[in-house]
C-alpha cells in the first residue's frame, strides 16, 4: 500500500526492522484456513473500509477504526515512532483519521528506515517529531543513496514466481477469490480472465472493481468475501508477497519488489476509485520511489495529488467514467518513459540494441526508476550521409497495474524515433485535443544551429552536450505526455510508443511549405485574437490568464538570468583554470620549498575548484535553465488553451447572434403573414437553437476542461519545480562539500 514498505524491500538494512510486520503477516498467511485469518481480517476490513470510505462511514467507522488500528500497530511493534503514531491517530479527530490511517503501514516501515519520513508525513503536524526531522539531516540523504544503490541491482525475473503470491492466495482461499470476482461491476469486467500470464493483470482489475463494489455496499454488514478481497489488496498484499518469496528459497529481492509493486498497485486501484486521498498518498511514495527522490517528497507529492484524488473520490461514487479517469491517472504514475540516445556507429548500435534488449526484458516491470538511472544505449546513426537522431523510446509499464494500460501489448518495449516524430506527435495531439481545452505539452524546439553542428559531425563535447540536452528535453516531454490522463488514452500516443515504424512525420520541417502554412495560420490566429473582445464572465479565468501572462514574463526574465549565471560560471571556471596554471608556474619557480609546495597545492585546489565550477555550470543549465525553458513553452500552450476557450466562446456568440437574426426574420415573416416561408424560418430557428445549445455546451465543456487542466498544470508545476529545485540544491550541496574538502587540503 505504500512505498516505504517497498523502500524497505530495497534496503537490506531496514529489512530487519520491518520483520515484525512481515512476521505478523506470515502468521496470518501461514495458517491454512479461515479461523485464524478471520480475526485480523475483520479488523483489517474495518480499517480498509475506513480508509476507503471515510467520508461516508464517519462516526461508526471512526469508532471502530480506533481499536483495530491500535491492534495492527500492536502486532507490529517495530519502533517507538509507531506507538507515538498510534497515540496520535487514536486521539485524532475524524477528519485527520483518514490521513493517519493511510499512513499506518507506511509508518511501520518508515519508522525502520527513517523516523523523519514519518514525522514529515504526519498530517496532524506533530511539531515535536517535525522538528526532529530538522535535527537529523543525515538520514534523509542516506535514504536516498540507499535507494539508488538498491535500484541499481537487477536480477532476472521468472514469471511464475512473480505470480506466486497471488496464486497462493487464490489456493488458500478459494471462496474469497470467487467472491471477489462476482461482485465486480461491468466496466472492470471488460477483460475476462485469461491464461495464467494474465492472471496478475486481471486480479487487480477485479480487485479494483471489488473495492468499488465494497464502496457501494459499504453500509451493509461486512461480508467475509469482500473483506478478504479488500484486505488482500490493501494491506496483506505486500506481506503476502514477501513471505511467499521468502519461502521460495529466499528468492531474489527483485521479485519481492515486483510483487510488492503489483499488489501495491492493485491497492492503488481500489484507492483510486474509493479513497481519493488514499490514492494520493500511495501515489506519492510510489512516484517518489520511481523518481528516486529523498523521502520527504513523499509528503509533498501526497499533498499535491490529494486534492485531485479527493475530487475523484467524490465523483467516483456517482460516475463510472470518472472512476476510469482516476484509474488512468493512477496508471500514469507507472508509465514512465525513458528516451535514450547516444552516439554510435551503426554497427555498434545494432550490437548495443541487442544487448540493451536483454537487460530490459529481464528488468521488465521493474520500476522505471532503475531504467531511468541507467542510461541506455541509443544511437545517432549516419545513414546515407544524413544524420538522424534516433531516440529509443523505452517504455516499461507494468501491465499488471491496470486495464487502461493493458492497451500496451507488452510490458516493455523499445522503439526508435526521430526528432521529427516527436514534433509530429505534438502536431497530432494539438490538432485533436487543443480545441477541447487540453494543455498539450510542447516538445523542445528545433534547433537548426545545434543540429547542423551535429550533422557537420565532429565528436566534440558541444555536440555531445547538445544531444544529451535534447535527449533530456524529449524525455521530459514524453513524460509529460504520458502523465496526462487524457493524452495517454490517445491512440496516437500509444502508436508512438509502441509501433515499430512510424510513417515519416510531415510538415515538421521548419522551412517547408507546411511550415510556412503553419506560420500563416499562427498569424491569422494572432489577428483574430486581437479582434475578439470577450467580456469575461468568469473571474477565475480572468485572474488565471493574468497570472499566466505574469508568470510567463517572470519565467522569461528568470531564464535570461540563469543563462547569464551559467555563462558567468563558465567564465569563472575558465579563469580559475588559468589561475591554477599560473599558480602552478609560480610554485615551480618559488625557491622556498615549503612555499613552493603550498603554491602547488593551491594550484591543485584551484584546479578542482575549476572542475566544480564547471559541474555547477552544467548543473545550472541542465536542471535549472532547461526546466525554466520548459515552463516557458508550457505556459505558451496554457495560453493556447485559453485562446481555444475564447474561440469556443466566439463560436457560441456567433451562433447566438445568428439565432437572434433568424428570430427577427421569423417575426417579420409572421407580421408579413407569409406562411410558406414561415415554416422554413421555424426550421432555421430550431436548427440554430440546437447549434446554440451545442456551442454553449462546447464552451462550457472547454471551460471546464481548461479549468481542470490549469489546476492540474499548476499542481504539476509546483511539484516539478520543487523536485527540480531540491535536486539542484542537492547538487549545490555536493559541490560545496567538495569545496570544503578541497580547501582543507591547503
Amino acid at each position: 500500500m505504500s512505498s516505504p514498505i517497498l523502500e524497505t524491500e530495497t534496503k537490506p538494512a531496514a529489512a530487519a526492522v520491518v520483520k515484525p510486520l512481515v512476521e505478523a503477516a506470515v502468521e496470518t498467511v501461514a495458517e491454512p484456513v479461515a479461523e485464524l485469518v478471520e480475526e485480523p481480517l475483520d479488523e483489517f476490513d474495518d480499517l480498509v473500509d475506513l480508509s476507503t470510505d471515510v467520508p461516508s462511514v464517519q462516526a461508526t467507522a471512526a469508532a471502530a477504526a480506533e481499536s483495530p488500528l491500535v491492534e495492527v500497530e500492536a502486532e507490529t511493534p517495530s519502533e517507538e515512532a509507531c506507538e507515538d503514531f498510534v497515540d496520535l491517530s487514536g486521539s485524532d479527530s475524524d477528519s485527520s483519521q483518514e490521513e493517519t490511517l493511510l499512513e499506518v503501514p507506511a509508518d511501520s516501515a518508515a519508522a525502520s528506515s527513517d523516523p523523519q519520513d514519518v514525522s514529515t508525513a504526519l498530517p496532524p503536524g506533530d511539531v515535536a517529531t517535525g522538528s526532529a526531522a530538522h535535527e537529523q539531516p543525515g538520514a534523509l540523504l542516506e535514504v536516498d543513496i540507499g535507494q539508488a544503490s538498491a535500484n541499481g541491482e537487477k536480477q532476472p525475473l521468472s514469471e511464475d514466481l512473480f505470480f506466486d503470491p497471488l496464486a497462493n492466495l487464490a489456493d488458500a482461499g478459494p471462496p474469497p477469490t470467487a467472491a471477489v470476482k462476482q461482485p465486480a461491476p461491468p466496466p472492470q469486467q471488460q477483460q475476462p480472465p485469461q491464461p495464467p500470464l494474465d492472471l496478475f493483470e486481471d486480479d487487480p482489475n477485479d480487485l479494483f472493481g471489488e473495492s468499488r463494489h465494497a464502496k457501494s455496499a459499504k453500509q451493509q454488514p461486512p461480508q467475509p468475501s469482500s473483506l478478504f478481497g479488500e484486505v488482500d489488496e490493501d494491506i496483506f498484499g505486500e506481506p503476502l508477497g514477501a513471505p511467499a518469496a521468502k519461502k521460495a528459497g529466499n528468492m531474489a529481492s527483485r521479485e519481492q519488489r515486483e510483487t510488492t509493486v503489483g499488489t501495491k498497485t492493485s491497492g492503488l486501484g481500489g484507492g483510486g476509485a474509493g479513497a481519493g486521498a488514499g490514492f494520493g498518498d500511495v501515489g506519492g511514495p510510489l512516484n517518489n520511489n520511481y523518481e528516486k527522490e529523498p523521502a520527504d517528497i513523499f509528503s509533498e507529492e501526497a499533498v499535491t495529488i490529494a486534492p485531485t484524488a479527493a475530487k475523484a473520490a467524490a465523483a467516483a461514487s456517482s460516475s463510472r467514467t470518472n472512476g476510469v479517469h482516476g484509474a488512468a491517472e493512477e496508471g500514469d504514475i507507472f508509465a514512465e518513459a525513458t528516451v535514450e540516445l547516444s552516439l554510435d556507429s551503426p554497427r555498434a548500435d545494432r550490437k548495443k540494441n541487442t544487448t540493451a534488449a536483454k537487460p530490459s526484458t529481464s528488468a521488465t516491470t521493474l520500476s522505471s526508476a532503475a531504467d531511468l538511472s541507467k542510461t541506455h544505449s541509443a544511437s545517432l546513426e549516419e545513414v546515407n550521409s544524413h544524420v538522424c537522431i534516433y531516440i529509443h523510446v523505452h517504455i516499461s509499464a507494468s501491465t499488471s497495474i491496470h486495464t487502461t494500460l493493458a492497451m500496451f501489448r507488452t510490458k516493455t518495449f523499445t522503439v526508435r524515433r526521430r526528432f521529427s516524430d516527436f514534433l509530429g506527435l505534438y502536431e497530432k495531439l494539438t490538432e485533436k485535443h487543443a480545441p477541447n481545452g487540453f494543455i498539450v505539452p510542447p516538445p523542445p524546439e528545433k534547433s537548426i544551429m545545434g543540429m547542423t553542428k551535429v550533422k557537420v559531425g565532429k565528436e566534440d563535447s558541444s555536440s555531445g552536450e547538445f544531444v544529451e540536452r535534447r535527449r533530456a528535453a524529449l524525455e521530459r516531454y514524453l513524460q509529460r505526455v504520458v502523465c496526462h490522463p487524457s493524452l495517454l488514452q490517445d491512440p496516437d500516443v500509444r502508436e508512438f510508443l509502441e509501433k515499430e515504424e512510424l510513417p515519416r512525420a510531415v510538415g515538421t520541417q521548419a522551412l517547408s511549405g507546411a511550415g510556412f502554412l503553419k506560420m500563416l495560420n499562427k498569424a491569422t490566429d494572432a489577428v483574430s485574437k486581437m479582434t475578439i473582445k470577450m467580456n469575461e464572465s468568469d473571474v477565475w479565468f480572468e485572474e488565471k490568464l493574468q497570472e499566466v501572462e505574469a508568470a510567463d514574463q517572470q519565467f522569461r526574465k528568470l531564464h535570461g538570468m540563469v543563462e547569464s549565471l551559467v555563462v558567468h560560471r563558465k567564465e569563472l571556471s575558465l579563469n580559475t583554470a588559468c589561475f591554477s596554471k599560473s599558480v602552478a608556474m609560480l610554485g615551480s619557480s618559488e625557491d622556498n620549498t615549503a612555499l613552493s609546495r603550498a603554491l602547488s597545492q593551491l594550484a591543485e585546489v584551484e584546479d578542482k575548484m575549476e572542475q566544480l565550477h564547471q559541474e555547477q555550470a552544467s548543473c545550472d543549465s541542465f536542471s535549472f535553465a532547461e526546466l525554466i525553458a520548459d515552463y516557458i513553452r508550457l505556459l505558451g500552450s496554457v495560453r493556447g488553451s485559453f485562446d481555444h476557450r475564447m474561440k469556443a466562446w466566439q463560436r457560441w456568440q456567433d451562433a447566438q447572434t445568428m439565432l437572434q437574426k433568424k428570430r427577427e426574420s421569423e417575426a417579420k415573416l409572421l407580421w408579413a403573414n407569409k406562411p410558406d416561408k414561415l415554416q422554413q424560418a421555424k426550421d432555421d430557428i430550431a436548427e440554430w437553437e440546437a447549434k446554440v445549445t451545442q456551442y454553449e455546451g462546447d464552451f462550457d465543456r472547454v471551460s471546464s476542461t481548461v479549468r481542470k487542466e490549469v489546476v492540474r498544470f499548476e499542481k504539476e508545476k509546483v511539484k516539478n519545480f520543487k523536485r527540480q529545485i531540491i535536486k539542484y540544491l542537492e547538487a549545490q550541496l555536493k559541490a560545496q562539500q567538495q569545496v570544503s574538502l578541497c580547501s582543507d587540503g591547503v
Binding site: 514529515t120 504526519l122 499533498v303 549565471l565 558567468h568 589561475f579 529545485i725 569545496v739
Partner: protein, 401 residues
Amino acid sequence: VYFTITLSLTRSVSVDLNNDTALIIDIPDALCERDKVKFTVHTKTTLSSFQKPDFSVPRQHEDFIWLHDTLVETEEYAGLIIPPAPPKPDFESPREKMHKLGEGEATMTKEEYTKMKQELEAEYLAVFKKTVQVHEVFLQRLSSHPILSKDRNFHIFLEYDQDLTVRRKNAKEMFGGFFKNMVKTADEVIISGIKEVDDFFEQEKTFLLDYYSKIKDSTIKAEKMTRSHKNVADDYIHISATLSNPPFNTGPVWCRFPQKVEGRVASDQELKLTELLRYYMRDIQAAKDLLYRRARALADYENSNKALDKARLKSRDIPQAEEQQQLCLQKFDKLSESGKRELTSFKGRRVVAFRKNLIEMAELEIKHAKVMLTMIYRCLFDNAYAIMKLALNVVTSRPFP
C-alpha cells in the same frame, strides 16, 4: 559625496613588520571627496627627534607619492629596497557601476535595486578600505625599516601639521618620468650583458625576473577570477530577487545565501589572494630596482676601471681616475652589502607573508563552504517543513461531505 569612514584595523595584506614600539603609525580615519582621499596619519612615538609623542596630520595620496619619490632619489638609499608606493586610489569602477545601476533602475524590481545598491556600496567601501590600508602599510614599512625610519623627509611627512601642498607633477615632469623609465629599461638591457661577479646576485636576479613575470601573470588571472566570481554573485542577486516575486513565491531563501556566500568568497579572495599577489608584485619590482641600481653601480665601476686603464695608458689624470674608480668600487661594495641584506630579509618576509595569507584564505574558504552547506541544509529542511505545514492545511481544510 562626502563620507567619513572609521576603519577597523584589519589588514588586507599582512606584511611582516618588526614590532618596534618606538614609532607606531596608523591611519585611523580617511575622508573621501570626489577623486581625492584625505588620510589622517596618526603617529605615536618615543623617539626624541619628534617634538610630541602623539600627533596626527592630514595627508593626501600625492604626499605619499612624493615621499616615495624622494626616497628613491636619495643616493644613500640606493642599496635598500624602497617600499613600493601605494597605488592610486581607484574609485572609478564602483562609481561607474553605480551610474549604470541608476540607469537600469527602471528595469529592476525595487528589491533587486536595493540589493544591487547595497552590494555596490559594499564594494565601494571595500575599495576605500583597501586604499587606506595600502597607504598605511607603506608608512609602516618605512617606520619599521632601521635606516628609512630615520629619514628626514619621512619625519617631515609625519610631523608637519600643515598641508604639505606637494606640487603636482606637471606634464613635462610626467613625460620626463616616462622618458626616464624608457632609458632605464634600455639601460637594463645594456647592462644585463655585464658579467656578474657575485653568485648570490646572479641567482637572485634570475629568480626575481622569473618570479616577477609569474607573479604578474598570477595577479592578472586572480583579478579575472575574482571578477567573474563577483559576476556570479551578482547573478544570484537577480535570480533571488526574481524568485521572491509572485509566480515563484516559493523559494527566495535558497538563492539569497549563495549570493551572499559567493560574494564573500569573491571579496575574500580579492583581499587575501589578489592583494597579496599585487603587493608582492610591486615589492618585487622594488627589489628589481635595487638590483638594477647595483648593476648600474657595477657598470659604473667597470667603466671607471676602463677609464683608469686609459688614463694610465695616456699617463694623464691618473689620480682623478683612480679616485673615481675607488669611489665606484666603494659604492658598489656598499650596494652589494646592503642589497644582500635587504634581499635576504625580503625573501624571509615574503615567505612568511605568503604563508600567513594562504592559511587565512583557506580558513575563510572552508568557513564559507561550511556556511553554504548549512544554508542549503536549512533550505532543504525548511522546504520539508513548509511542505508539512501545507499538508496540514490541506488536511484540515478539506471539505467533507
